[in-house]
Amino acid sequence: MSQTDNDQDDLMRLLVAVSREDRDSFQQLYHMVSARMFGLCLKLAGQRDLAEDALQEAFIQIWHRAREYHTDRGMPLGWMMSIARYRTLDMMRARKIRRNDGEEQLEYVEDGREGPLDESLRSAGEAQLSGCLNELNDAQRDSILLSYYKGLTHDELAHVLNTPLGTVKSWVRRGLMVLKRCLEQ
């Protein structure tokens, strides 16, 4: 599912209006994108109250920083989704959220079969990244996707994958570099 060009044009128009502190446009913008942003916050945080706070912070930031948006930062929706993601990660770290609820499931990741990543997300991720995830080995791919979708830190990855920290770090780092070479082609 991707936004149509029309949607992106609408978002751009609204964002420009928001940069001039147009409140009606800000509210329209909220109604257009808040459900997508909230879905992402919720997926990452796994907690409604934290996701709600993160969404709130994200929109406060969008209000104050709309004038800083420019197309080098990607499409308007992508820019806003990034803000939502960063604010959620901040809050998770700040509150030292331990994702104990997911750990039992996470232990299966090592097998590369069942895991905290829905299979649908894993395959969708592959499609979205132009097949580049296929260039990675399973450990690299799952480490990266777990960080992206679940906000797991290196320490948490090492814990749930029952793998030394150094190994996990190298999976993530090497995986990202392989991904980059592929995405740049």
């Binding site: 991707s2 808040s34 459900a35 997508r36 969404l55 992508g78 979708y149 780092r173 990202l176």
Partner: protein, 233 residues
Amino acid sequence: MKKTPERIEKLAAEYVLGSLQGLARKRFERWMMESAAVRQEVWFWEQKLGPLSDEVAEVNPPSSVWNSIERRLWQQERHTGKAQSRANQRWFWPGWSIIATAAALVMAVLLVQPSSEAPQMQLSGAIVQAGIGDPLWLVSETGRNNLLKLRSVAANAAEADKDYELWIVPEDGQPLSLGVIAVGGVHQVTLTDTARQALSQSRTLAISLEPLGGSPTGAPTGPILHVAQLYEI
């Protein structure tokens, strides 16, 4: 740590992914403020990894979220009913000739990791100018001793016989001078409790061009060159 292309590449990817944390994340955020090349690399990853978010299901947030946003952004105005208190007009007090605000915009990269040593919120931001890749000054508040630090990065010296003067722009009333600031190095100001209070409410700083030694009147007399909004970290 030097900003080598290899380090930038590696750290930017981890920053966007979220696995870069703690002090390393803070340090990298400072790199982002300082270098356009670092920001470009971050934007690359934001755009490349962004599509992964497309697959996450939409969820409607409760209406309380929007209510909270409205309350936080515009509560004061609702109370006073004054259009003048709008954030963007805060610094348009009479008598100021504002010549360069359009060019001055605030990058204000959020330093997001709360300090473990100082539970109190701290303010941070950057004073930037359109068309210049690096920020002119980086601003940060330290948790202890009410200290505000201004580090000059790409600021040029004021013209001959002039000085830059730093001001807190309060929600209401006259700006408070924080003195003349030099270009180069780090400028530190100890805020009085009153100044700290005003800054924590308005979170707005301004820089004006003044005669050598600063404004003779205690209020800004020259053009306002920059207005910067700070953010909590």
